[in-house]
C-alpha cells in the first residue's frame, strides 16, 4: 500500500490546494447573502434533469423571461434532444412556428419573412443592445444561455435571486429606481421582480408559486447552459470504471515486477 500512500499523500495536498484556491477566487466575488440551496435532481455524480420541471421551466422562460432576455446559443431542436426537456418533435415544431424571422431576400430584394423551424435559434427580444438598454432602465438584460455557468454557485444563486425579491427595503439602502434583492451583489437590481404567483398557468396543472417557477426555470437554465451534462456524467462513470479496473491490474503488475528488485 506504500505506492498508494506516496501518490495520494502528494497529489492530495496539491488537490486540496487547488480546491482551496478556486474557493478563494469565488469567495472574493461575495454575494450579500448565503445562497439558498433547494436541492436539484441534476446535482451529484449521477444527477439527471427532472424532465417535467424542464418543460415547465421552458414555459416560464418563454412566457416571462423571453420578453427581455435572449438565449442565443439555443435552437428549437435542442428542446427535443435527449438529456433535455425532451418535448416531442411535433410539439417543438409547433412552438417554433409560432415565431417568425426575416430570412434573406426574394428576387426583388425584398426581405422574406417566414415562420421559424427546428433549426432556428430562439428569437431575440430586441434588435440590438442599445434598444435593449433603452427599454430596461439602462441595464442590458444578459443573454441567459450561459447564465448558470457565468455566476458563482450558478443555479443556487439564480434560484435565490428569482425567489428573493423583497418589498421592504432596508433603511440604509439607497436603490433609486431599482428593485431590492439581497441576493444581488449590492442589493440594487435593475430587473423588476419578474415572477408573481400564477404568472404562468402550467400546462401540466402544477400550481405556479414563485418558488415553484424559480425552481423550474433554474432547472431549465441549468440544462440550457450545458445540454450535454447528462451525457458527460454517464460517460464519466464508464471511463472512470474502466480506469479503476485498469488501475487494479497495473497495481498487481507493479507489485509482481518489483517483488524481486532489491
Amino acid at each position: 500500500m506504500n505506492i498508494f500512500k506516496n501518490i495520494f499523500k502528494n497529489n492530495f495536498v496539491l488537490l486540496l490546494f487547488l480546491i482551496s484556491i478556486s474557493g478563494s477566487v469565488n469567495a472574493a466575488e461575495g454575494t450579500t447573502f448565503k445562497n439558498q440551496k433547494p436541492g436539484f435532481s441534476f446535482e451529484g455524480p449521477f444527477g439527471k434533469f427532472d424532465k417535467e420541471s424542464l418543460k415547465r421551466g421552458y414555459q416560464v422562460y418563454s412566457e416571462v423571461c423571453s420578453a427581455c432576455h435572449g438565449m442565443k446559443q439555443l435552437s428549437f431542436r435542442n428542446l427535443s434532444q435527449p438529456g433535455g426537456p425532451e418535448f416531442s418533435v411535433e410539439k417543438v415544431k409547433a412552438i417554433a412556428s409560432g415565431y417568425s424571422i426575416i430570412d434573406g431576400t426574394n428576387e426583388y430584394g425584398e426581405p422574406i419573412e417566414r415562420s421559424m423551424v427546428l433549426t432556428d435559434r430562439f428569437p431575440q427580444p430586441y434588435g440590438n443592445k442599445d434598444e435593449a438598454k433603452a427599454a430596461n432602465n439602462g441595464a442590458y438584460p444578459p443573454d441567459l444561455s450561459l447564465i448558470v455557468k457565468a455566476r458563482v454557485d450558478g443555479y443556487n444563486y439564480l434560484y435565490s435571486l428569482l425567489n428573493g425579491y423583497e418589498e421592504e427595503i432596508p433603511e440604509d439602502k439607497d436603490i433609486g429606481d431599482l428593485s431590492y434583492n439581497p441576493w444581488f451583489p449590492g442589493g440594487a437590481i435593475a430587473m423588476y421582480q419578474p415572477l408573481y404567483d400564477e404568472s404562468v398557468e402550467y400546462e401540466d396543472g402544477t400550481i405556479a408559486t414563485i418558488d415553484q417557477m424559480s425552481y423550474d426555470v433554474t432547472n431549465f437554465l441549468t440544462w440550457a447552459a450545458e445540454p450535454t451534462m447528462e451525457e458527460r456524467k454517464k460517460l464519466g462513470f464508464v471511463v472512470m470504471g474502466f480506469l479503476v479496473v485498469f488501475l487494479i491490474l497495473m497495481y498487481l503488475s507493479v507489485n509482481k515486477l518489483f517483488r524481486d528488485v532489491h
Binding site: 505506492i3 506516496n6 501518490i7 502528494n10 497529489n11 496539491l14 488537490l15 490546494f17 487547488l18 480546491i19 482551496s20 484556491i21 478556486s22 478563494s24 477566487v25 469565488n26 472574493a28 466575488e29 455524480p45 442565443k72 446559443q73 435542442n78 444578459p142 444561455s145 450561459l146 455557468k149 457565468a150 455566476r151 458563482v152 450558478g154 447552459a225 450545458e226 445540454p227 450535454t228 451525457e231 458527460r232 456524467k233 460517460l235 464519466g236 462513470f237 471511463v239 472512470m240 480506469l243 479503476v244 485498469f246 488501475l247 497495473m250 497495481y251 503488475s253 507493479v254 515486477l257 518489483f258 528488485v261
Partner: protein, 427 residues
C-alpha cells in the same frame, strides 16, 4: 538488466533496417533496455505523465482548432458551438481546458522533485535548464490559450498581463504594440495569440526531445543522489518503469477524469462564460490558478517595473540554480538543513498561490511580501550559504549498498568515494 547488453537484430528485415536506419536499435536502447536506477520512487513518474499531458493537449488542441474561429465576433460562439453541436466537443474542450491545469500541476511536482533530489546538479545542468525553458514556454502557451475563448477573464487578463510590457523603459511601448497588433487587446491580438498558441506546443515538443536526450546521456538521478556505479544499480526501463509509470499515470488520469466529467469548470472562472466586453471591467481580474504565485509576486512590489522584473526574475533565477547550489551531495535526504528550507520553500510557493487570488491589501499584502522575499532568498542566499556550511549526513556507498560510506566529508564536498560512472558511459 545487463549493462553490457547490446541490441542484436533478430530477423532479416531488422538486420537490413539496422544497417540503414537503426530505428529499432534506437528504440531498444532508449525505451526498452535503457538502464535506469532501480530505486526511483513515484515522484519520478511525472516525466512520463508530463509527456502524456503534452500529447493530450496537442491532440485535443488540433481537433479544437478545426472548429474554433479566431475572430472577436465569433470566438465565444464558436466555443459554445463546440460544446453543444460538435460530436463529443464538450469532452474534447473540457479535456483541453482541464488538461492545462493538470499539465501545470504535474510540472510543479516534477520541478519540486528536481529541487528536492538535486537533479539540476552536475552532470544534469542542461536537463534542468531545458526544463526551465519548457516551463517558460508552457506559461506563455497557457496564457495565450486562456485568451482564445474570448470571455471576460480572457480579455481582461490579456489586457492586464500585456500591459506589463509597457512598463519596460523605451522599448516597452513599441513592443506592446507589436504584441497586441494595435493599441489595445482586439482582433489582431486574438489572431496572433491563436497562431502562437498553435505553434508553441510544437516548440515545446522539440525542447522535450532535447530534455529527454540530455537525460539519456547522463542517465537518471535517483532519490539517493548517488550516481549509478554498475549494472547492479539499474534495471531496464521496460518492463519495470513502463509499468510503474503507467500505473502512476492511471492514478493521475483518475483525478484528471474527476475534473473533466464531474467538475469541469471549478478550475476556471465563471466570468469567462460571459463574452468579452471592453466597456465592462470585472470586479476582480485573476489569472488561471497556475499563474497565481507569479501574480502574487508581481503585486507584492509597490513599483510596477520592479514588480514585472521580479515576476520574470522568479523564473530566470531557476536557470542559475546549478551554480547557486554547489553542494556536491545531491539528495535532500542527506541534507537535514536544506530539507527544512526546501519545505519552507514549498510552503512559500503554495502561500503565494493562495495570495495571488486575494486582493493585495492588509495581511495578504504583507504575507505576499514575506513569501516573495523568501522565494528569492531561498535561491540567492540560502542555497549558496548552505553549500558552504552544511554538514551532510553519512551516505550509503551505493544505490545497492546500504553500508555507510566512511569517507570524511568536507563541507561543500562529500561525494562518495570512487569516480562516478554514468549509465551511458558503458556504451
Amino acid at each position: 538488466m545487463n549493462h553490457d547488453y547490446q541490441y542484436t537484430p533478430k530477423n532479416g528485415f531488422s538486420k537490413w533496417l539496422d544497417k540503414r536506419l537503426p530505428l529499432m536499435r534506437f528504440a531498444d536502447e532508449n525505451l526498452l533496455s535503457f538502464p535506469t536506477p532501480k530505486n526511483l520512487n513515484y515522484f519520478y513518474t511525472f516525466g512520463f505523465i508530463l509527456t502524456m499531458c503534452l500529447v493530450t493537449q496537442i491532440i485535443t488542441g488540433i481537433v479544437l482548432a478545426m472548429h474554433y474561429v479566431p475572430n472577436t465576433t465569433l470566438a465565444f460562439d464558436s466555443i459554445e458551438h463546440i460544446m453543444r453541436d460538435v460530436n463529443y466537443g464538450w469532452l474534447i474542450r473540457y479535456t483541453h481546458s482541464n488538461g492545462a491545469s493538470m499539465f501545470f500541476l504535474a510540472v510543479f511536482i516534477h520541478m519540486f522533485r528536481g529541487l528536492y533530489y538535486g537533479s539540476y546538479k552536475e552532470p544534469r545542468e542542461i536537463i534542468w535548464i531545458l526544463g526551465v525553458v519548457i516551463f517558460l514556454l508552457m506559461i506563455i502557451t497557457g496564457f495565450m490559450g486562456y485568451v482564445l475563448p474570448w470571455g471576460q477573464m480572457s480579455f481582461w487578463g490579456a489586457t492586464v498581463i500585456t500591459n506589463l510590457v509597457a512598463t519596460i523603459p523605451i522599448i516597452g511601448e513599441p513592443v506592446l504594440t507589436l504584441l497586441l497588433g494595435g493599441y489595445s487587446v482586439d482582433n489582431p491580438t486574438l489572431n496572433r495569440f491563436f497562431s502562437l498558441h498553435y505553434l508553441l506546443p510544437f516548440v515545446i515538443f522539440g525542447v522535450v526531445i532535447l530534455h529527454i536526450w540530455a537525460l539519456h546521456v547522463t542517465g537518471n538521478n535517483n532519490p539517493t543522489g548517488i550516481e549509478v556505479k554498475d549494472s547492479k544499480d539499474t534495471i531496464s526501463f521496460h518492463p519495470y518503469y513502463t509499468v510503474k509509470d503507467l500505473f502512476a499515470y492511471i492514478v493521475f488520469l483518475l483525478m484528471f477524469c474527476y475534473f473533466i466529467f464531474y467538475n469541469p469548470n471549478i478550475l476556471g472562472h465563471p466570468d469567462n462564460y460571459i463574452e468579452a466586453d471592453p466597456m465592462l471591467t470585472p470586479a476582480h481580474i485573476v489569472p488561471e490558478w497556475y499563474l497565481l504565485p507569479f501574480y502574487a509576486i508581481l503585486r507584492a512590489v509597490p513599483d510596477k517595473l520592479m514588480g514585472v522584473l521580479l515576476m520574470f526574475g522568479s523564473i530566470v533565477v531557476l536557470f542559475f540554480l546549478p551554480w547557486l547550489d554547489t553542494m556536491k551531495v545531491k539528495s535532500a535526504r542527506y541534507r537535514p538543513l536544506y530539507k527544512i528550507f526546501f519545505i519552507l520553500f514549498v510552503i512559500s510557493c503554495l502561500l503565494l498561490g493562495y495570495l495571488g487570488a486575494k486582493a493585495p491589501e492588509g495581511i495578504y499584502l504583507f504575507l505576499s511580501r514575506v513569501s516573495t522575499i523568501y522565494y528569492f532568498a531561498f535561491f540567492l542566499v540560502i542555497m549558496p550559504v548552505l553549500s558552504r556550511i552544511e554538514k551532510p549526513l553519512p551516505m550509503p556507498i551505493g544505490i545497492s549498498n546500504p553500508a555507510l560510506n566512511n569517507t570524511v566529508y568536507d563541507s561543500g564536498g562529500g561525494v562518495a568515494s570512487g569516480t562516478p560512472s554514468y549509465a551511458m558511459d558503458s556504451k
